[in-house]
Amino acid sequence: MIPVTQHSTAFQIVDVKKTFDTADGRQVQALDGVSFEVEAGQLVCMVGPTGCGKTTLLRLMAGLETPTGGQILLEGKPVVRPGADRGMVFQQYSLFPWRTVLKNVTFGLEMKGLPKKDQLKRARRAIQQVGLNKFEKAYPYELSGGMQQRVAIARALVNEPQILLMDEPYGSLDESTRLKLQDVLLALCRDHQKTVLFVTHSLDEAVYLSDRVVVLGGMPGQVVGDLTIDMPHPRERVSQQFVECLLHIRQVIADSALNDNGVDLVPVQRLNGHLPTPGPCCFQDIEPQRKNP
């Protein structure tokens, strides 16, 4: 069930720890020894309950934060600072409000110092990819939330990064826009072979999009599950395979919550005795994680 094609490794995350200092002098540990690898060309979703460090991990990969322990390697080299080789789409609306759609998208190219003509050409192509060519002169405040996120995706794509880091990009959108943009993303991945790391709260979104789902859990965050999803696109949300995958991930999250605290924190229906047989989605063999002292 694991894809047999040979892939090179994009990210290697080795025993990464991250501790934050809060304003009142306390220390909060967000990540505690997270390790996994991401193959180039994969769409990997990271799911898990709030506060499990998904976003922190993504920010570490982007280079916006530095790990307090372990390291993150990108094609063998440690990540030290943000760069145009990793496009990032934030959960919040991050368009520069003083720039038009077109000027927002050309921002990265301006930073590269490309000639104006090429900037416009490439920006227009990127805007077309997300289907907003009619709005290139509009300002962000004139656009709906979904359109703004599409522009943010175009802005990240125009630099032609091999890697896209997406932090709950569709979290604040309505359901129908969300579904539409999921297909936009899949089409982009199909055409351009990007490595995508996609943080989401929605298990449905994770199963629909990804080649692989990494489940983070606990406080501080650890990898509690790692599943490969081998279903052809477009995926049918009401198919048995799909639902089984969904239930499986739920079970993993629920189990991890139990393990950590002895209390079922995740309000999901327990699925006693109904573990889906290894079918379209299956566990990779992950080493058992250390328990918190």
Binding site: P82, S94, W98
Partner: protein, 305 residues
């Protein structure tokens, strides 16, 4: 075919009707807008009528002049007033002082504000001082400025005694006082503008390959611009108030502020009131002008709220 013919006709008539309707609606919107423009004028008319009524009742031109002599002065802005030059001349001189003092304040205040806003150590070191110094009223600096700068004018600075231009009437002490009045609102608003730049925008720029200086000019500066413009507006308003007060004090011999204190000394109340009217008008126009400048540079901010 048979059924289509009348429906097309119907369609045409509805199009006509709707365009007429649209036109009517447009006219209604236009006239409503015009009405909103006219409304404030009524308050001015009411004020003038009230003034005139009280003046007639008081019936003493040394206390409250009637509108006729005031209008007499206002209607001839290019004619000499009490041997001190015309209204326009004096307004121009005051405005020139404000423009020069304000420009110096902008050229010094904005860079200082950007610097203090961008770096933590200078901010912690100097900003408390800025907060202390700003409480010293610029008017209180006039005696000090007179003592330090005496009667030096701008041309004196380059070794010219008289340049025979308006600049001979611009004294350094006055410029310093105006600078003092305008610079603090500019610095403080610039600092708060830089501090208000969302971290998200900086991080976004970083992930798009920007760094250091480029982030400053392409993100921090444009994001802070609306707040900087607010600082300029406040600063210009303060400078205009301070110039009037400064011109009324000893050591001054021209400008609209001087004209009204001179009118007072000669008990020419109508000159005084006409001068006050001009001060109000110029201040109003100054604020409006800077307001339009600020919305053209940062339209996005007004819309975002």
């Amino acid at each position: 075919m048979l059924r289509q013919a009348p429906s097309r006709k119907l369609l045409k008539s509805t199009v006509d009707l709707s365009s007429l309707k649209r036109w009517r609606h447009k006219m209604a919107v236009v006239s409503k807008k015009a009405w909103h423009k006219i409304l404030p004028l009524f308050s001015v008319v009411i004020l003038i009528a009230l003034w005139q009524a009280i003046a007639v009742w008081v019936n003493n031109p040394f206390i409250l002049p009637r509108m006729e002599p005031v209008w007499e002065v206002l209607s001839k802005p290019f004619e000499d007033v009490l041997g001190q030059g015309s209204l326009i001349y004096n307004i121009f001189l005051s405005a020139l002082r404000v423009v020069l003092g304000f420009s110096v304040a902008v050229l010094i205040g904005v860079p200082i504000g950007l610097w203090l806003g961008s770096y933590n150590t200078p901010y912690r070191m100097f900003f408390p001082l800025v907060e202390m110094l700003r409480t010293i009223c610029p008017i209180a600096f006039i005696p000090f400025a007179m003592a330090v700068f005496r009667f030096y004018t701008l041309p004196n600075m380059v070794g010219v005694r008289y340049s025979n231009t308006f600049l001979d009437d611009v004294m350094l002490g006055m410029l310093f006082v105006l600078f003092w009045g305008a610079v603090f609102p500019i610095v403080i608003n610039t600092v708060s503008g830089v501090h208000g730049v969302k971290q998200l925008y900086v991080e976004t720029a970083e992930t798009l390959g920007a760094s250091g200086r480029k982030i400053f000019w392409k993100v921090t500066y444009p994001a802070a611009l609306p707040s900087i413009m607010t600082g300029l507006r406040v600063g210009a308003g303060v400078a205009w108030m301070v110039v009037i007060a400064a011109e009324m004090l000893p050591g001054s011999d021209s400008g609209i502020g001087y004209l009204i204190i001179y009118g007072y000394q000669l008990a020419q109340m109508h000159v005084l009131v006409a001068g006050m009217f001009c001060i109000g008008l110029v201040g109003f126009l100054l604020n409006k002008g800077l307001y339009y400048l600020s919305i053209t540079t940062s339209r996005w901010q007004a819309k975002e709220r």
